[in-house]
C-alpha cells in the first residue's frame, strides 16, 4: 500500500476476523499426555490448535508441544512413500516402492517365520498408544517377543505399584490435587501426565499447600517447590525408608488403616530353611491367616469384625511360629540401617532435614486431617458417615525408577503412603480407574514352551505379572525364552519387557538368533538405545561366513526420517497424528481420572498429502494377509476391511468388551460393556472424541475397599469381581522367587543367578547402592550423570519441530558452580565426560541448583547430523549430544564372567540414571567446536524436500 506523507494513516485493526472454516476435535499426540484438542482449519490447512475445555485430561489448557503440533504436522522430516533399502545398511540408499510391494515383502518375511518359529519375530514398539492392538497382534502372530518402551522408561514404578497397591502413578493414579496439604515429588517428573501435574501444582500452591521436591536438579517444577532437597542420585530409597523409620519411631502410622486395608496383620511363617519360610500362613482353603485378639485364636485374615494383631509372635497349628508382616516391617525399618543419620551419609541430606520432613508428614497426616461429609459403604457392607483423609500426597516417575535399585525405591514410596493411610484417602494418592486392580493384576505372560508353536496364536498376552517361578518364561534348563530375556531369572518381573536389550541380544544371538526385527515409533538407532556407537555396529554387523546381516531383516514404521531409518530394510511410512483414527483404550493405557472412567479417540482432521498409511491400518492388513485368526474371517477374507476404525468398533476382546468402553450397545447407551454399536465413532466425534463416566461422590475414595465403587467397576468391566483389594506391604511373590533360589521347589534358577535372586527378592523394600556405583571405581568416576527432557520437548515424538527447536536446539552439560570452580572449569568451557563405557565432549553450563556430585543434560535434543532432514550445520548435531553414548546396556563382568543387563534385577528396567562419570576440562569455547562423538552425516532420501530456511507459516492468511 502506498502512503501519502501528508495524510495521517490510521491503523485498521480487524478485531473479529474469521479464524477458521471448520473446527475439528481430536486428541493430541505430541506427548503421552493425550489432551483433548480443537483443531481450527482454514483453507484446508491447520490454522490453530488449542486445548478442549470440556476434555477431562487438560480442561482447555495446552502445553508448548501441543501448541507446536502444526510444525510437527508440516515437518519436512515426514516420510512420503514406502522405502526399500538398496544400498548397505546405514547408507541411506533407498528405492521408493508401492504399498503393494512393501506389504508383499513384509508378508513374505513374516509368514516364513510364522510357519517355522514365531519367536524369530521380535516386534517392539516405542511410545506406542495402541498397545491394546500391537500386543494382541503379537499374541495372534504367536511370538512372545513383544513389548513397548516401558522397560526403558518407568516399569519400576509401574511394577512396584501394581504388586503393592494394585495401581501406581500417572495412568494408574494421581495426587488428590483438590485436597492435599503436603505434596512430595521425587526425581524428574516433568514428563508423564504433563498438563494435569502443572495444573495440579498451580492449584495446590495457590491453596497454600506445601510442595517439597526431592531431586538432584532444581529446574522445572522443582523451581517452584517450597522446599528443594538436592539429594544424591539413586539414594531416594534410603531417604524414604529413613522417613518410615522416623514415623515408626514416633508411632505416626495409621494402624486402623493397616488392619482394614493391608496385609500388615497377615501372619508370615518363621521357619528358616523350610520351603515355606517367609510365606503367609494359610488355612486349608489357601486363605491367609491372622491372629484375632478378640478370641485369641487364628482367624482368616480377610474376615471382618475381627481384632487382628499387628505385632507379636503366634503359634500355628503345626507348632511353628508366625508373626504379622507388620512386625517384620517395623523391625527392619526401626533398625539403625534406616536411621536418618545413616541416610545422611548416603543421600547427602542432613539427618535433621529428614527428621523435620518426617515430622511434617506426620503432623499433616494425623493432625491436619480432612473429613469429607460423604457417606460410604465399605467392602463388608458397613456404612461410614465420613471420608477421613490424610492429606499427604506424593508423585514420582522415571527419576527414581531408572536406577538398578528402582523397584525397591518405588515400593518404599508406596509403603510410606500406605503406612500413613493416604492411599485413596482424601488428600492423598487417588487411583485412576481401571485401577485399583488386585495386587498384582491376575494376568500372566504367555510364551512358555507349550504356548508357542508355528501358525498358532499364543493363549495369552506377551506381558503380564508373574507371581512365582512357575510363571517365568524360561526353558527347562532355566535359560530365557524371550529375546530380551524378560520374565527370565535375570528379570523375573519385567512387566513391560526389556526393550534396551533387544538389539544387543538379537545381534549376539543370545538366547537365540532372530530373523526379523519389526519396530514402530522406536528410535532404536539413537535415543531409544544405550551405547549408540556399538548399537550402530550391531545393526550393520554381518556374519563372516554367510555375509548376511546378523539381524537379517529390519522393518520399521514411523512418520519421520529419524536416525533409525537408514538401518531398516523396509520402511512403512506412518501418518501424523492429525491424519488418522486412533483409540486411547481402557485395554491399553487409559485417560481416566480419579473421579471418572474415560477413553478417547483420534479422528483424521486433515487428509495425508503423501503416500503414507496409518500404522495400525497396516498392521491389521498384515494380520489378514498372514491369516492371523483374529484378523481373518472363516472364509479367509480380511475381518476388518475398513482398517483400524473398523477394528475399533467391531473387535471384541470378551463378550461386550471392545477397544472403546463408551457408547456401546445397539442404541449407544451402554457404558463399559455392551454389544457392538456401528455408530460408536460418530458418537465419540459428536462428544468431542472422548467418553467419560463420572463416579458418584460415594464411589470416589477408598476404591480398594469401597463396595459401591467395586460393584460399579465390575459393571463397567474394569475388574472381575467386587472383592476388597488388599494393599501388599509385604509382597509374597518376591519371597517365592527367593525360596526357589534357596533350593526349594521344582523350578529353580541356574546356579549363577541364585545369589542375585536371594539378595534382591526381598518381600520388604530394601536399599542398596546402585550397581554401576557399586561396581565401578568411584574415585575414577566420582560424579553422577543424569538426563531429563525439558517440558517443551518431553515425549515429543520426532522432536524435529521448527518452533520447539528454537527453544531447545542443543544441549549443554550442567554442573555445580562450586564444583566447577574447584576443577577450574568456567562457564561455556568444553569438557570430556568419560564413563566406564565411553567418552564424549560437551560444553558446560554452570548452575547453583544442582547436587554437587551430579552433572546433567537435556535428553534427546542432540541429533545425528543429517537426520530428521535438518541440514548438517544444525546445532542439534554440532552442539548437541546424547548421554546415551556413554551408558552401557550391560554391566561389567562379575564373578562368573557373565555380563548382566544394566538393569534393575527384579523388573529389568534400564538403569540409565546409574551412570557414573569423570569430568575433565577440554578447553575454552572457540568457533567451530563440535560435540563428540560425531557420526558420519546421515544421507537423507533425496525425494524429501528440506524445509525452506525462512519459514513464514500463516503468511497467506493475512
Amino acid at each position: 500500500m502506498s502512503v501519502n506523507p501528508f495524510e495521517t494513516v490510521v491503523d485498521i485493526v480487524d478485531t473479529s476476523p474469521k479464524i477458521s472454516d471448520e473446527v475439528k476435535l481430536t486428541t493430541c499426540y505430541m506427548c503421552a499426555c493425550r489432551c483433548g484438542i480443537k483443531v481450527h482449519l482454514k483453507d484446508n490447512k491447520v490454522r490453530y490448535i488449542e486445548g478442549n475445555r470440556d476434555h477431562p485430561v487438560n480442561k482447555g489448557v495446552l502445553c508448548a508441544k501441543g501448541s507446536a503440533g502444526i510444525m510437527q504436522h508440516y515437518s519436512p522430516a515426514r516420510l512420503t512413500k514406502p522405502l526399500k533399502r538398496v544400498g548397505e545398511r546405514g547408507s541411506g540408499e533407498f528405492k521408493e516402492i508401492e504399498w503393494e510391494e512393501a506389504l508383499g515383502i513384509a508378508t513374505q518375511w513374516l509368514s516364513k517365520i510364522r510357519d517355522n518359529d514365531p519367536r524369530k519375530l521380535a516386534f517392539f514398539t516405542g511410545r506406542d498408544q495402541s498397545q491394546g492392538l500391537t500386543g494382541f497382534w503379537a499374541s495372534q502372530f504367536g511370538t512372545p517377543n513383544h513389548a513397548a518402551h516401558g522397560g526403558f522408561c518407568s516399569v519400576n514404578m509401574a511394577a512396584a505399584g501394581l504388586y503393592t497397591i494394585g495401581g501406581s502413578f500417572w495412568e494408574f493414579g494421581e495426587p488428590d490435587w483438590e485436597h492435599t496439604k503436603y505434596f512430595l515429588m521425587f526425581g524428574v517428573a516433568e514428563d508423564h501426565d504433563s498438563n494435569p501435574i502443572k495444573t495440579g501444582l498451580g492449584k495446590l500452591k495457590t491453596r497454600g499447600a506445601k510442595f517439597v521436591s526431592i531431586n538432584p536438579v532444581k529446574t522445572g517444577y522443582s523451581a517452584i517447590a517450597d522446599e528443594w532437597v538436592g539429594i544424591k542420585p539413586g539414594t531416594d530409597g534410603l531417604f524414604i525408608l529413613a522417613i518410615v523409620h522416623q514415623l515408626l519411631k514416633s508411632n505416626q502410622i495409621d494402624l486402623d488403616y493397616l488392619v482394614r486395608y493391608t496385609n500388615a496383620p497377615w501372619l508370615v511363617i518363621q521357619d528358616k530353611g523350610s520351603e515355606d519360610h517367609g510365606l503367609f500362613a494359610r488355612d486349608e482353603d489357601g486363605s491367609p491367616l491372622c491372629w484375632n485378639k478378640a478370641t485369641n485364636t487364628l482367624a482368616p485374615a480377610l474376615a471382618t469384625d475381627i481384632s487382628p494383631a499387628i505385632a507379636g509372635s503366634f503359634t500355628l497349628p503345626d507348632g511353628r511360629l508366625a508373626v504379622p508382616s507388620f512386625q517384620l516391617l517395623a523391625e527392619r525399618y526401626l533398625s539403625e540401617d534406616y536411621s536418618p543419620e545413616t541416610a545422611e551419609k548416603q543421600c547427602g541430606i542432613e539427618a535433621n532435614t529428614i527428621k523435620r520432613i518426617a515430622a511434617e508428614i506426620g503432623r499433616v497426616a494425623f493432625e491436619d486431617t480432612i473429613e469429607l461429609d460423604v457417606t460410604w459403604t465399605d467392602w463388608a457392607g458397613r456404612k461410614h458417615d465420613k471420608m477421613i483423609g490424610r492429606p499427604v500426597a506424593m508423585h514420582a516417575m522415571r527419576g527414581i525408577s531408572a536406577h538398578s535399585n528402582g523397584f525397591h525405591t518405588c515400593r518404599a514410596l508406596h509403603v510410606l503412603q500406605i503406612l500413613i493411610g493416604s492411599i485413596d484417602a482424601p488428600g492423598g494418592f487417588r487411583y485412576k480407574p481401571p485401577f485399583p486392580k488386585p495386587a498384582p493384576p491376575p494376568l500372566k505372560p504367555a510364551g512358555k514352551v507349550d504356548q508357542v508353536s508355528p501358525n498358532t496364536p499364543m493363549p495369552g498376552p506377551p506381558l503380564g505379572f508373574p507371581t512365582g517361578p512357575e510363571d517365568l518364561l524360561v526353558e527347562p534348563n532355566g535359560q530365557p525364552r524371550r529375546i530380551d530375556k524378560a520374565f527370565s531369572w535375570e528379570a523375573p518381573l519385567s512387566a513391560h519387557g526389556v526393550m534396551h536389550m533387544v538389539l544387543n541380544n538379537a545381534w549376539k544371538g543370545d538366547p537365540y538368533p532372530i530373523d526379523t526385527l519389526f519396530m514402530y515409533m522406536a528410535n532404536m538407532g539413537w535415543n531409544s538405545s544405550m551405547n549408540i556407537p556399538d548399537t550402530i555396529k550391531m545393526m550393520t554387523d554381518k556374519d563372516e561366513v554367510t555375509g548376511d546381516y546378523k539381524i537379517p531383516n529390519i522393518i520399521y514404521s514411523d512418520a519421520f526420517y529419524s536416525e533409525t531409518i537408514p538401518y531398516a530394510d523396509l520402511i512403512l511410512p506412518d501418518t501424523t497424528y492429525l491424519e488418522r483414527w486412533d483409540c486411547i483404550s481402557l485395554l491399553d493405557r487409559p485417560i481416566c481420572d480419579a473421579d471418572g472412567v474415560a477413553d478417547s479417540i483420534r479422528q483424521p482432521v486433515v487428509k495425508p498429502d503423501r503416500d503414507v498409511r496409518p500404522f495400525q491400518d497396516v498392521l491389521i492388513e498384515l494380520g489378514a494377509r498372514l491369516g492371523l485368526p483374529a484378523f481373518t474371517t472363516e472364509k479367509g477374507s480380511p475381518k476388518y476391511p475398513g482398517g483400524y476404525p473398523d477394528y475399533i468398533v467391531n473387535h471384541e476382546r470378551g463378550p461386550g468388551i471392545g477397544p472403546l468402553a463408551g457408547f456401546r450397545g445397539a442404541d449407544g447407551l451402554s457404558e463399559g460393556k455392551g454389544e457392538i454399536n456401528p455408530k460408536q465413532l460418530d458418537q465419540y466425534v459428536e462428544n468431542g472424541c472422548f467418553w467419560r463416566h463420572e463416579f458418584s461422590p460415594t464411589e470416589r475414595y477408598f476404591k480398594h475397599s469401597n463396595k459401591a465403587y467395586l460393584e460399579k467397576a465390575v459393571d463397567l468391566g474394569l475388574i472381575g469381581a467386587p472383592n476388597q483389594i488388599i494393599l501388599q506391604l509385604y509382597v509374597e511373590p518376591l519371597q517365592k522367587f527367593r525360596l526357589a533360589a534357596e533350593g526349594h521347589g521344582d523350578i529353580q534358577p541356574p546356579d549363577e543367578h541364585r545369589d542375585r535372586i536371594k539378595t534382591y527378592f526381598d518381600p520388604l523394600p530394601i536399599y542398596y547402592t546402585p550397581f554401576e556405583e557399586a561396581i565401578s571405581d568411584t574415585n575414577t568416576f566420582p560424579m553422577h550423570a543424569l538426563t531429563q527432557r525439558p517440558m517443551a520437548m518431553y515425549h515429543s515424538w520426532g522432536s524435529q519441530n521448527a518452533w520447539l527447536r528454537q527453544i531447545h536446539g542443543f544441549n549443554k552439560l550442567y554442573m555445580s558452580r562450586t564444583r566447577a570452580k574447584k576443577m577450574e572449569i568456567n562457564n561455556d568451557d568444553w569438557v570430556y565426560v568419560s564413563s566406564p563405557q565411553g567418552k564424549l565432549k560437551a560444553q558446560v553450563q554452570l548452575m547453583e541448583g544442582v547436587n554437587e556430585d551430579t552433572v546433567w543434560t537435556w535428553n534427546a535434543i542432540g541429533k545425528r547430523r543429517g537426520a530428521w532432514n535438518l541440514s548438517p550445520d544444525a546445532p542439534e548435531g554440532t552442539k548437541g549430544f546424547l548421554l546415551n553414548h556413554i551408558i552401557s546396556q550391560l554391566l561389567p563382568e562379575q564373578g562368573s564372567g557373565y555380563r548382566y543387563a544394566n538393569s534393575d534385577p527384579i523388573t529389568g528396567q534400564a538403569a540409565w540414571f546409574d551412570l557414573r562419570v569423570k569430568i575433565e576440562k577440554a578447553g575454552p569455547n572457540k568457533p567451530g567446536e563440535l560435540t563428540e562423538p560425531q557420526f558420519e552425516t546421515m544421507k537423507v532420501s533425496s525425494t524429501v524436500p528440506r524445509g525452506n530456511p525462512t519459514s513464514r507459516y500463516g503468511e497467506k492468511d493475512k
Binding site: 478485531t15 512386625q327 550445520d873 544444525a874
Partner: protein, 265 residues
C-alpha cells in the same frame, strides 16, 4: 515522535503473571506464536527453520524467529539462598510507553479505548528506535518484512465475536497449564486481576524508569525450608528430635507399643 492518548477512564487491559506457580513450560510462548502465526501481525517469521549457522564468536545461531512472548529461566543468588525463577516476558502495555513516544512515524501507538500498544505495519519504517527505547526487550523485529512486531494482547482474539465469550482471552492465558496467567482490566480496582495484584503484592517491572507497565508480576511466595524463619518450623524440628511417643515408652522393645494395640478390621 508519537503522542500518547490523553488519560481517560477507559480500561487498561493487561496480564498478571504469577511467578510463584509458573513452571517455565513455554506453553504460553508457543501458543502465542501459533495464534499469531495467523493473526494480526502474521506471519511470525522463522529463520534457519531447519538449519543453523555459527557466528564468528563461536555462538551458535541455530534457528530463531519472531516470538511475542519468551520464557527465561535463570537463577538468582548463589549457594543455599539461590532461587530458580521462570520469567515469561512480553510487552507490558505501559501507561507511558517510551516505545510509542520515540516512534518517528506514528506507527507505534497506544490505543485509547483499551491501552493496548500496537504497531501499524503500513507506517513502520523498521528503524528499530522503539526496540532501543523499550527496557523490557518486548519488541520483535521481522527482518524479512522490515517491520517491528510485538504482542497485540491477542487483539484479534479478545474481541472476536466468532469465538465463544469464554475464549476471548489472550492465547497465553487460555493455554497456561499452571493457571499462572490472568487477563483483565488493571485500571479497575475491583477487577479480579486488580484484587489479585493487591492480595499478592503484585509489582511493576523496573518501576523506577517511570513507564508504568500495565502488566503485573506476582512474586514467588516465601520459601518454607530450613532457611525460613517461621517459628512453626523450629517447633517441628524439636518435635522430630524428641522422637515422639516412642521415647516415652522407655522400653527395650519398640514393638511392644503395637503388641497391645486393639484394632478392628
Amino acid at each position: 515522535m508519537t503522542s500518547l492518548p490523553k488519560p481517560s477512564d477507559s480500561p487498561q487491559l493487561g496480564l498478571v503473571i504469577d511467578l510463584d506457580i509458573c513452571v517455565g513450560c513455554h506453553a504460553c510462548a508457543v501458543n502465542c506464536k501459533e495464534w499469531n502465526s495467523g493473526g494480526h501481525s502474521a506471519p511470525m517469521t522463522d529463520w534457519n527453520a531447519y538449519s543453523g549457522t555459527e557466528s564468528q564468536d563461536g555462538d551458535d545461531v541455530g534457528a530463531w524467529g519472531v516470538w511475542f512472548n519468551r520464557v527465561h529461566t535463570y537463577e538468582v543468588n548463589e549457594g543455599p539462598q539461590s532461587r530458580t525463577v521462570h520469567f515469561p516476558r512480553s510487552c507490558l502495555h505501559c501507561e507511558e510507553p517510551a516505545c510509542v513516544t520515540v516512534c518517528p512515524t506514528g506507527a507505534s501507538y497506544k490505543r485509547e479505548e483499551d491501552g493496548i500498544v500496537l504497531v501499524n505495519p503500513d507506517t513502520c519504517i523498521g528503524c528499530k528506535l522503539c526496540s532501543w527505547a523499550c527496557p523490557y526487550g518486548a519488541r520483535e523485529y521481522d527482518q524479512t518484512d522490515g517491520v517491528m512486531k510485538k504482542c497485540t494482547l491477542c487483539i484479534d482474539k479478545i474481541y472476536n465475536e466468532n469465538l465463544e465469550e469464554v475464549d476471548r482471552v489472550p492465547a497465553c492465558v487460555s493455554t497456561c497449564p499452571a493457571g499462572a496467567r490472568h487477563f483483565g482490566d488493571l485500571s479497575d480496582p475491583d477487577s479480579d486481576v486488580s484484587i489479585l495484584v493487591s492480595d499478592r503484592q503484585g509489582y511493576d517491572l523496573l518501576p523506577e524508569l517511570g513507564y508504568k507497565p500495565t502488566n503485573k508480576y506476582l512474586p514467588p511466595r516465601p520459601r518454607r525450608d530450613h532457611l525460613s524463619k517461621e517459628q512453626e518450623q523450629v517447633s517441628i524440628v524439636d518435635m522430630a528430635n524428641s522422637d515422639g511417643s516412642y521415647e516415652s515408652n522407655e522400653t527395650n522393645n519398640p514393638l511392644l507399643k503395637w503388641v497391645d494395640a486393639v484394632l478392628s478390621r
